[in-house]
């Protein structure tokens, strides 16, 4: 609890939000990178289909997406059953896991699209050069592709992170708004607005904006300092 201008602010949701956003970003970079690379390399017409598929989570309103996630991830549904088979205990919804899964799905396009774009822009001749210097596929990826798509990663990471922070519909739907467990700051602000506690809403919003501004400026600043321009 924090008091600002005589208004009490609960910091819990803020920390939770940052945690979920960070985990989501991490997961999406880890999952999205091979996916984007694979798609960037694809030449078949499946590529078009995959590209469209990846963009789909954007098309459904988050609350609706959340609704379907509720259906898919329900504790007696096939997904949970499947995970149970591998020793998973517990429930996918109403937990941090659920929040992360929901955010990951919802933000997928923001991670994959810029990454793919960045990967496609890497000149083939540099990969050729690396191959003749005995770098295998993975080695090439880490030593040439990754550093040269820095800007793409930055875009992907900031879009994903910011988007998860501001995410509302999906986490609201899947999370269960349990104070201290799944109440993210976006829901918190919304609740304040709904119950006419505008002061709290204003303060929380301002905090998030300032915080985001600082973080983003730091990230972009670092990138500008250490960035490489290809081409």
């Amino acid at each position: 609890m924090l008091e600002i201008f005589g208004t009490e602010i609960n910091l819990g949701p803020i920390w939770l939000t940052l945690e979920v956003a960070a985990i989501t970003t991490l997961v999406l970079l880890v999952v999205g990178t091979p996916l984007a690379w694979w798609m960037a390399q694809m030449r078949s017409s499946n590529k078009v289909f995959l590209e469209a598929l990846v963009a789909l989570p954007l098309v459904l309103p988050p609350t609706v997406l959340g609704f379907y996630l509720l259906i898919i991830f329900n504790p007696t549904g096939p997904v949970t059953e499947f995970l149970r088979f591998f020793g998973f205990e517990g429930q996918l919804t109403f937990s941090k896991t659920g929040l992360v899964i929901g955010s990951v799905i919802y933000s997928l396009p923001f991670a994959v699209q810029p990454l793919m774009h960045a990967f496609e822009a890497i000149p083939q001749r540099l990969l050729d050069a690396a191959a003749t210097l005995r770098a295998g596929v993975l080695d090439r990826f880490f030593s040439v592709v990754l550093p040269l798509s820095q800007r793409g990663f930055l875009v992907a990471a900031t879009l994903t992170f910011a988007h998860t922070v501001g995410e509302f519909g999906v986490v609201l739907m899947v999370g269960g708004n349990i104070p201290g467990e799944t109440r993210m700051v976006s829901i918190d602000i919304f609740d304040h607005v709904e119950s006419l506690e505008y002061d709290q809403a204003h303060i929380l919003s301002a905090m998030m904006l300032v915080f985001a501004l600082v973080v983003l400026m730091l990230v972009y600043g670092l990138n500008r300092r250490f960035g490489v321009k290809v081409g």
């Binding site: 609704f67 509720l70 259906i71 991830f73 329900n74 504790p75 007696t76 549904g77 429930q91 919804t93 109403f94 609201l172 739907m173 269960g176 708004n177 349990i178 829901i187 919304f190 609740d191 607005v193 709904e194 119950s195 006419l196």
Partner: protein, 231 residues
Amino acid sequence: ETANIAVAANFTKTIEAVGKVFEKETGHHVKFSFGPTGKLYAQIRNGAPFDAFFGADERRPKKTIEDGNGVADSYFVYAQGQIVLYSAKFPVKDQPLDVLKAAEFNHLAVANPKTAPYGERAVSYLKSKGLYDGVKSKIVNGESIAHAFQYVVTRNAEIGFVAMSQVVDPQSPVYGKGQYWVVPQTDYKPINQGALITKRGKDNEAVKAFMKFIKTPKAIEIIKQFGYNVS
């Protein structure tokens, strides 16, 4: 003449049914905009083109009048919500309190007590019966009563306090499935849903006619069919 009426989301279906009859009988035209009550309040406060406002509670309609955005003497309670305890798994019909006491479920869905009167009444009911502490850790908050209901329908929560209107509707996905128990009206403060004519709708004939119509027995009959009380 046409009237734009803002209506709390939980009353969506009911008022559409009423509106159909009204339009047939009077030749007036009504357009309903649905949304969370707090949001509708904020919209009216910021110049939304609504001629009347049907809230999900008394507080925000009254506040609209206080703000000077409503016609002072137009306020009335158009319906009272009824809480039911629903479960597809537990025998809530016969031993509701035992089920709650045993708390053998993982999640109990309740509308957010902070923003939805249904949730607020459900929580205070639990408290008055001394059951709250036992189930507190199992509670998941739906943002609205509809959202709490979705938790139950999708089986993410095995049990939940929902609105009567949601279980008696023949179109409801739980209609005739599982069990529900109507929480006695005497055990909680009535959920009065208040309505009013906004300043903008002051001279709108359609609104005046609709407000009159909704108090007719014919309309009250419909409202009751959807699971609301009208006193």
